[in-house]
Subunit: 336 residues, 2 copies
């Protein structure tokens, strides 16, 4: 591949994605809103603060243990709005379908979208359908774009992490990515390997009730927790220190990761978020998270420290320390 | 193809698209907003009326005389918002790119989007990039989703056409579709065959200034003016009578249509709209349209008549009358 070609890594959520965004998209789409680079754009519309976000879903396989592309398309955009501190309200859904795709599969996907929208309390209000010739797409791609209203009393942004903040995740890492990887490669492993695909707006709402002063919230999708934490460290100009032994990973997932030589910190999740809260709220937020069905395995995984260099460090279980770098190169393509 | 398969015609904007929408999407995504089936969903957000619309663009070829997929993606969504009587403000853009796609082509597309956004006075504020393996998509697909604010004093909906209304178009029909068709099939014809791809919000704004009581506005894209007028006739429970001799079509386009056995009424446009205005405003609206660079060839093409059957009729140049039916089957795929 020449330098002039788009690579799979440009869509993996790591370094190459970020350089494509900054070198190309931000070069031309240059305005104060997009350049903030939040999960959802924060707009002001007739005096109201609105969150607005878009995501296309190209996951392969289309159906997987724990969900399908439709459920994922709703959860993903709901989560991008919710982590901006907004209440998700409306969703559009646009389908690009390959000629010959089975109608009953489409129905199963659309049904899953409707069910997840109902569960998340949002309405799908606009749609579009395009069909392309056989061979011009791989089954089905779905774009969802969402609108939410930003709560008045919150100020959640990637650049708000402060030294002293405690970093919490709402459960085990790597479930979605490893599920997709196993299904795609026909790997059979024992145990419960299932995507964590879920809408997190309810959990986030309960967290914001006890702590409106949450500094940062990010869902850890492409590039995993490693990508998210590096982005936050950079945006906030802080460093983050993790404790490996506090990072929740299911035994089955850890087994697959060890077998394949992967680090769960770099694996995509679809129902997990990283929360940065002032230390004095940490116990209270952790407690409310653990009470929620989507947060029973919540854990404090690290804290924000003073920085000269915006790095993420990890204290390993064997007593060492290493840098958790921004993922680079091709992660697993088409994870979402 | 079995009954259980999605066909190209399901994406062509005609009968099959409509039945897919009503039998599948509306069955599951059932709420009062989406079931209104407007070009843009009309939402109420904190007391403000918002227009919200989504469109995926899969046009082939990606670059064509008069534009490219990027320009089209901005114009298309700007127009869907503008024809709902709203002022387009914000756009998201989501890219699905085939591995190996040339970066400089991507740059040309992104640049065209930025230029068109500037021209239309909207901001591109959110984005997403996915890359799929070579062979899993055809070059590049772009989704744009837009937000606008609905003007207080307008009430523009497909169901508002009234007997006596005059139907105006803002210029020659079929330019976009015939351009794409010629380029895709390597057909060389003399003359100026060029897409009409343009953002119509400025033209619409000037029309609304002289006539806030415009009843219906629709951009005539997939399925052409024939599809749009049939949808309006159905939604408003009226019939529409067209005069063939008043329908503006460029000689070059008419030539290609005659050569290929096509009817310009069924060909997609990307810078043309149908306007329904009360008769007493018709002259004034036509005059203001003709003064706008995107409306110099505006023409009154027909009127709304009392109805028992929601049909579109045309009085032909040779003195006959025929029904202009809803397009059915496969029109030209991937026209937008």
């Amino acid at each position: 591949m020449s330098d002039n070609q788009i690579l799979l890594s440009h869509g993996s959520g790591g370094k190459q994605t970020n350089s494509l965004i900054s070198d190309l998209f931000l070069k031309y789409f240059n305005n104060s809103i997009i350049s903030e680079m939040n999960d959802a754009a924060q707009l002001t519309l007739e005096g109201n603060k609105i969150a607005f976000t878009t995501d296309s879903f190209v996951v392969n396989p289309i159906f997987f243990n724990g969900g399908n592309i439709g459920k994922l398309a709703v959860c993903g955009t709901v989560n991008d709005i919710a982590v901006s501190g907004a209440k998700p309200l409306f969703l559009s859904s646009a389908f690009i379908i390959e000629e010959g795709f089975e109608k009953d599969k489409l129905e199963e996907i659309v049904k899953a979208m409707a069910e997840e929208a109902e569960k998340a309390g949002i309405k799908i209000v606009a749609g579009d359908t395009k069909v392309v010739e056989k061979g011009s797409a791989d089954g089905i791609f779905i774009n969802t774009t969402g609108i939410g209203t930003i709560r008045d009393n919150v100020n959640i942004k990637a650049c708000n992490a402060m030294p002293g903040d405690v970093v919490i995740v709402n459960g085990t890492l790597g479930d979605h990515g490893i599920t997709i990887m196993c299904e795609r490669n026909g790997l059979g492993f024992d145990g419960d390997i299932k995507s964590d695909c879920a809408s997190l707006n309810g959990l986030i709402e309960s967290m914001l009730e006890v702590c409106p002063s949450i500094h940062v919230l990010r869902d850890a999708t492409r590039g995993g927790v490693a990508a998210v934490l590096n982005e936050i460290a950079e945006a906030s100009n802080v460093s983050i220190r993790l404790r490996e032994k506090s990072i929740p990973v299911k035994n089955e997932i850890l087994g697959v990761c060890e077998f394949l030589g992967l680090d769960p910190l770099y694996i995509a999740n679809e129902g997990k978020l990283c929360v940065f809260v002032p230390e004095e709220y940490a116990d209270e937020v952790l407690e409310i998270m653990k009470k929620h069905p989507l947060g029973t395995d919540s854990s404090i995984i690290g804290k924000v420290v003073e920085s000269g260099n915006s790095k993420v460090y990890i204290d390993t279980v064997v007593g060492g320390q290493r840098i958790v770098d921004m993922p680079s190169g091709q992660q697993l393509p088409r994870i979402c």
